[in-house]
C-alpha cells in the first residue's frame, strides 16, 4: 500500500489510499480509480455511471482549466511533479483550488518531497504521495515551518499585510 498523507484542518495524517492509479494500457480494476486525462475523456462517463469514485491525473503540461466542467463529478485531481523543480503543478493547484473552487482532493504525485510541502499546502494541495518514506509527522512539521506568509494564495492564510492591520 503506497503511503498517502492527507492534510485536513491543518493536520497531516497517513491514511490508506482507497484509490488505484490506473495506467492507460492497464485493465480497469474494480473500485475507486485515478486515470489520465485522456482516459477520463474516453471512459469517464462509463466509470462514473458505475457508481465508483473517479480521479484524474494531470501531467504538468496539462492545464487544470480543461477539467472545469467535470470538477463537480471528480473526487480527486492528482497533479504530477515529473521533477522536483518542475513548478507547473503549483499553478494548476492554485487554479483548481483558488480559482475553480474545486472541493475534492488535490493530490501531489511524482517527485514529491517534504521541502515542497509548505508551497503545496499554500496553493491548495491537501494530499501527498511522498517520493521518499517521509512520515506524516515530518510533513506536518514542514507545513507548519513558517509562522507567516507574505502573499495571498489558495489556502486563505492571512498574509503579512493583513496581519499587520489586525
Amino acid at each position: 500500500m503506497p503511503t498517502l498523507i492527507e492534510l485536513k484542518d491543518g493536520v497531516c495524517r497517513g491514511v490508506d489510499d482507497p484509490f488505484t492509479h490506473v495506467a492507460d494500457d492497464q485493465d480497469m480494476p474494480a473500485g475507486d480509480v485515478i486515470v489520465s486525462l485522456a482516459r477520463f475523456q474516453a471512459e469517464g462517463e462509463g466509470l462514473l455511471a458505475e457508481g465508483r469514485r473517479v480521479g484524474v491525473r494531470l501531467q504538468s503540461h496539462e492545464e487544470a482549466e480543461v477539467l472545469a466542467y467535470d470538477l463537480p463529478r471528480l473526487s480527486v485531481v492528482a497533479l504530477e511533479f515529473p521533477k522536483y523543480r518542475d513548478g507547473r503543478a503549483y499553478t494548476n493547484g492554485y487554479v483548481l483550488s483558488g480559482r475553480l473552487k474545486f472541493k475534492g482532493q488535490v493530490r501531489a504525485v511524482g517527485d514529491v518531497l517534504r521541502e515542497q510541502a509548505g508551497f503545496m499546502a499554500r496553493v491548495g494541495f491537501d494530499a501527498f504521495e511522498p517520493a521518499d518514506d517521509a512520515s506524516a509527522n515530518e510533513w506536518q512539521a514542514a507545513i507548519r515551518r513558517y509562522r507567516h506568509v507574505y502573499q495571498r494564495s489558495a489556502d486563505g492564510r492571512a498574509p503579512a499585510f493583513a496581519e499587520r492591520e489586525s
Partner: protein, 551 residues
C-alpha cells in the same frame, strides 16, 4: 529606510532554523549531495571550484551601517577578510565552510539579512536605482515598489520553481542605472499627464547565450495594480516557459517565440481573471511608502565654502569630485560614489576593513544609508557638501577613493575562472590588465564615460553584451581567448553589442582595448562618448585598427 517588523524578523528566524536542520541532515549523511543541492541553492549556497560560496541578499542594494559591519565581521570570521559585491547588488563570500553556514545565517538574521532566493529558479533580488531618494531625476521613490515586490516574491508558493531564474529591476529616472531593459522584467516608473503614477512594463530582456533588449508590453500600468500584473506575467511564464533546455528557459525566449503582442495578450487575459484582489491594499502601500519618507535634510546653501576651498586647493580631491560626486536633489548635498574598482584590485571586492570604514562614514556623514550599485560600487546617497572632503580623506586612507566612476577602469567583471566552475576563462586579471593600462587618470578622464564589461563564459554574469566594450572569455582548445563586442548598452539607450572580429588571446586584450580607445579619440566629435562615436562610425575603423597587426 524600511525597518523589519516582527513578522519580517520571524520569517528570517524560521528560514534559518529550517536550513540548520537541512545542513545537519547533510552533515550526518542522511541527505546525499544530490538531495541537498536544491536545498542549499535555495539558501544561496553554491559549491564552487575551491569552496562553498554564500550569496547574501541585499534587497534593492540598500544597507544600513549595522548590516554592513555585520558583513565585514562575517568576512573576517568565516571568510578571508573580504566579500564580493555582485551585479545583482548582493554580496558573495567565496571561502565558506558548510558547517559554518547555519551560524552565518543566524548572524545575518540578527541584522535583518538573509540569503533567501539568491539562487534557484525563483524571483531573485529586485534591483533599483542606487540614487533612489537622492536624485532629482526620479518621479517618485522606486524603493517603495522594490520592497513591495520583496515581500510578495519571498517564498511565493506558486513561483518558486519557475523554468529558470527571474530578475526584476525598477527605475524611476529617465537615466537608467538599473539596466531595466535587459531584465526579465524591467519597470520604469512614470507620471501620466493627470499626475498619476504608473509603470512602463518591459518583459523579456536578458543576456546569456541569446541577448535581447526587452520589448514594452504595457505602456502604463497604474502603480497600485503592480502585483496582480506581475502575477499574471509569472503565471503565463510558469506554465509556458520552456523546461526542456535550460539555455532556452528564460522568459525572453518565450516572449520572442510568441511575439510581444501575443505574449501581452496572454498576460492581459490572465490579468483580467486575477482582478484587483491580488493587489496590495492602499493601507499597506502607504505603510511601506512611509518607511521611505525623505531623510532629514537640513536647509543648506547650494554652495559650500569648505567644499569649494578643498576643491581649489587639492587637485586629487577635485578629481574625485569630478568623477565620483553626483548631484543631489537637496541643495548643499551630494551623492558620493565609492569605487570598488581600484587599479589592480578585483572589481567588486571590498575588505572587511573597507566595509567598516564605509559603515562609519554612513553613520557619521551619510544618514545611515549605503547602497550597492549593479556596477559593483557603493554609494553614500546623502552627504553634505561640507562633509565631502572628510569622507574623501577617509576613503583615500582606506584605498577606496579611486576617482573612476563610469570611466574606462570602472569595469564589471564576473569572478571568472579564478572562482567559478562554469567559466571558460579568467575575467578578473583581464580587468586588472586593462585598468593598469589606463592608470593615467588624466587620460582616463579625457576618454570619459566608457563601460567595459567582462564575462568569463557565455552565461554573461559580467554583462559583456551591454558593455560599450564587451569582453567574453571563450575556450579554444584549452586556451583562453576573448571575443570583443562593441556598442552595447544596458542603460536607457540599451543595445546588444556587435562582434568586433576573431577572438584574441589573453595577452592581447588590454592592447586591443587601448587601440579601440585610440581610434575613438581620433574619430570622436565634440561631446561624444565612446558609444556615440561607435554608433556613428560603425565597426570598420575599430576593426581595421585592432586587426591591422594580424595582416
Amino acid at each position: 529606510m524600511y525597518q523589519y517588523d516582527v513578522i519580517d524578523k520571524e520569517m528570517l528566524a524560521d528560514r534559518s532554523a529550517e536550513f540548520r536542520g537541512q545542513v545537519a541532515r547533510r552533515l550526518s549523511g542522511e541527505l546525499t549531495e544530490d538531495q541537498f543541492k536544491p536545498l542549499r541553492l535555495m539558501n544561496g549556497l553554491y559549491l564552487q571550484l575551491h569552496a562553498y560560496m554564500l550569496r547574501v541578499a541585499i534587497p534593492y542594494g540598500s544597507l544600513n551601517p549595522t548590516q554592513l559591519r555585520k558583513l565585514a565581521w562575517i568576512g573576517r570570521t568565516y571568510d578571508k577578510g573580504y566579500g564580493h559585491f555582485t551585479t545583482r547588488t548582493n554580496l558573495q563570500f567565496h571561502w565558506i565552510k558548510l558547517a559554518d553556514t547555519p551560524d552565518i545565517l543566524d548572524h545575518l538574521a540578527q541584522v535583518d539579512m538573509h540569503a533567501i532566493q539568491t539562487s534557484g529558479n525563483c524571483i531573485r533580488n529586485t534591483t533599483t536605482d542606487p540614487y533612489a531618494g537622492a536624485t532629482a531625476e526620479e518621479v517618485d521613490d522606486p524603493r517603495v515598489w522594490a520592497e513591495a515586490i520583496r515581500q510578495w516574491s519571498t517564498f511565493h508558493p506558486e513561483f518558486s520553481f519557475l523554468p529558470r531564474k527571474f530578475k526584476i529591476a525598477i527605475t524611476a529616472a529617465p537615466k537608467d542605472r538599473t539596466a531595466a531593459k535587459v531584465h526579465d522584467i524591467g519597470l520604469v516608473l512614470k507620471r501620466a499627464r493627470d499626475g498619476s503614477l504608473g509603470f512602463e512594463v518591459i518583459v523579456g530582456g536578458g543576456m546569456g547565450r541569446t541577448p535581447y533588449v526587452g520589448p514594452t508590453i504595457k505602456e502604463f500600468l497604474p502603480v497600485n495594480r503592480l502585483l496582480s500584473y506581475l502575477e499574471a506575467i509569472l503565471r503565463v511564464y510558469n506554465r509556458h516557459g520552456r523546461r526542456d533546455n535550460i539555455y532556452k528557459a528564460r522568459i525572453k525566449i518565450l516572449v520572442a517565440a510568441l511575439g510581444k503582442d501575443e505574449f501581452a495578450r496572454q498576460v492581459e487575459a490572465e490579468w483580467a481573471k486575477i482582478g484587483e484582489a491580488a493587489d496590495l491594499p492602499d493601507t499597506e502601500l502607504a505603510r511601506i511608502r512611509g518607511a521611505f519618507a525623505a531623510a532629514n535634510f537640513e536647509v543648506l546653501p547650494a554652495q559650500s565654502e569648505a567644499f569649494e576651498a578643498a576643491k581649489a586647493s587639492n587637485p586629487a580631491f577635485a578629481r574625485f569630485v569630478r568623477n565620483n560626486l553626483k548631484p543631489h536633489k537637496k541643495a548643499g548635498y551630494g551623492i558620493v560614489e565609492i569605487s570598488l574598482k581600484g587599479i589592480g584590485d578585483t572589481p567588486g571586492d571590498a575588505t572587511s576593513e573597507q566595509m567598516d570604514v564605509v559603515a562609519d562614514l554612513a553613520e557619521r556623514y551619510g544618514q545611515n544609508d549605503i547602497r550597492v550599485t549593479h556596477e559593483q560600487n557603493l554609494v553614500l546617497p546623502h552627504v553634505k557638501l561640507d562633509d565631502v572632503p572628510a569622507v574623501w580623506a577617509a576613503l583615500s586612507e582606506a584605498g577606496i577613493a579611486t576617482p573612476n566612476i563610469n570611466l574606462v577602469s570602472d569595469i564589471i567583471a564576473c569572478p571568472g575562472l579564478d572562482y567559478c566552475a562554469l567559466a571558460n576563462a579568467r575575467a578578473i586579471p583581464v580587468a586588472q590588465n586593462i585598468a593598469a593600462k589606463f592608470k593615467d587618470q588624466d587620460r582616463a578622464e579625457k576618454i570619459g564615460e566608457l563601460k567595459i564589461k567582462i564575462s568569463g563564459c557565455i552565461n554573461a554574469c559580467g554583462h559583456h553584451h551591454v558593455g560599450h566594450i564587451g569582453i567574453l572569455g571563450v575556450d579554444k582548445k584549452g586556451e583562453e581567448f576573448y571575443q570583443l563586442t562593441l556598442g552595447g548598452s544596458g542603460a536607457e539607450d540599451a543595445a546588444v553589442g556587435s562582434m568586433l572580429g576573431p577572438a584574441l588571446p589573453y595577452d592581447k586584450v588590454a592592447d586591443a582595448v587601448d587601440t579601440l580607445v585610440e581610434v575613438y579619440l581620433r574619430e570622436r566629435h565634440d561631446g561624444e562618448r565612446f558609444l556615440d562615436t561607435f554608433r556613428r562610425t560603425g565597426v570598420t575603423p575599430f576593426k581595421e585598427a585592432v586587426y591591422a597587426d594580424a595582416h
